[in-house]
Symmetry: C2
Subunit: 114 residues, 2 copies
């Protein structure tokens, strides 16, 4: 790459793309769903519900943490994770602002456009 992304794209575009990347693997969506149903849970619990190695699950958790969609805290020998609701809401606002541009469009492109 010859230019940095932040020279090319707006902050909003970059932020939304980073949130989207966090959701771009079904394992990470499954993790979010589980966390939503449990409020919080430890890594081992997620390892049990997914047919993935513990190291792989840990890697996915790291990705979600990097995107700030979850928080993680050490709790004795365990690690306790939960959803960062605020960031999740921020992501949805970015999604919705792109969405509103699209939903507002006049055209009714049922089959193609041109």
């Amino acid at each position: 790459m010859t230019k940095r992304k932040d020279e090319i794209y707006s902050d909003k575009e970059i932020n939304l793309s980073e949130y989207a990347k966090a959701l771009s693997h079904p394992a990470r969506i499954a993790i979010l769903k589980h966390l939503a149903s449990q409020d919080r849970c430890i890594c081992g619990e997620i390892v049990e519900i997914l047919p993935l190695a513990q190291s792989t699950v840990s890697q996915h958790l790291k990705e979600l943490k990097k995107a700030k969609l979850i928080t993680g805290e050490i709790d004795g020998p365990r690690s306790c994770y939960c959803i960062n609701k605020e960031k999740y809401i921020e992501m949805m606002e970015l999604m919705d602002s792109l969405s509103s541009l699209i939903v507002k469009m006049k055209s009714d492109n049922k089959k193609g456009c041109c």
Copy 2:
């Protein structure tokens, strides 16, 4: 990978992850925004607004088309693209259904959880 994704994850999880992957690059978000503002446009127009090679833009358009978020039609020597509103709405419904699980959560995780 030892198991196929569709043996592990639900259809909804896979669909949402595929839509999210399509949004996981800022260039593709910029393309969607441009298409939303123009209703339709040809590939060359997008090449002009992004500092990327024509072949790279074409590749991003292909990704968006693969995710069905845009449609493309040949129009003489040109290619005309526009947003597939229906699929976009489907994506937002999947986002919202994950979202509603999270927003409904009782806990107020301002700083961590455990």
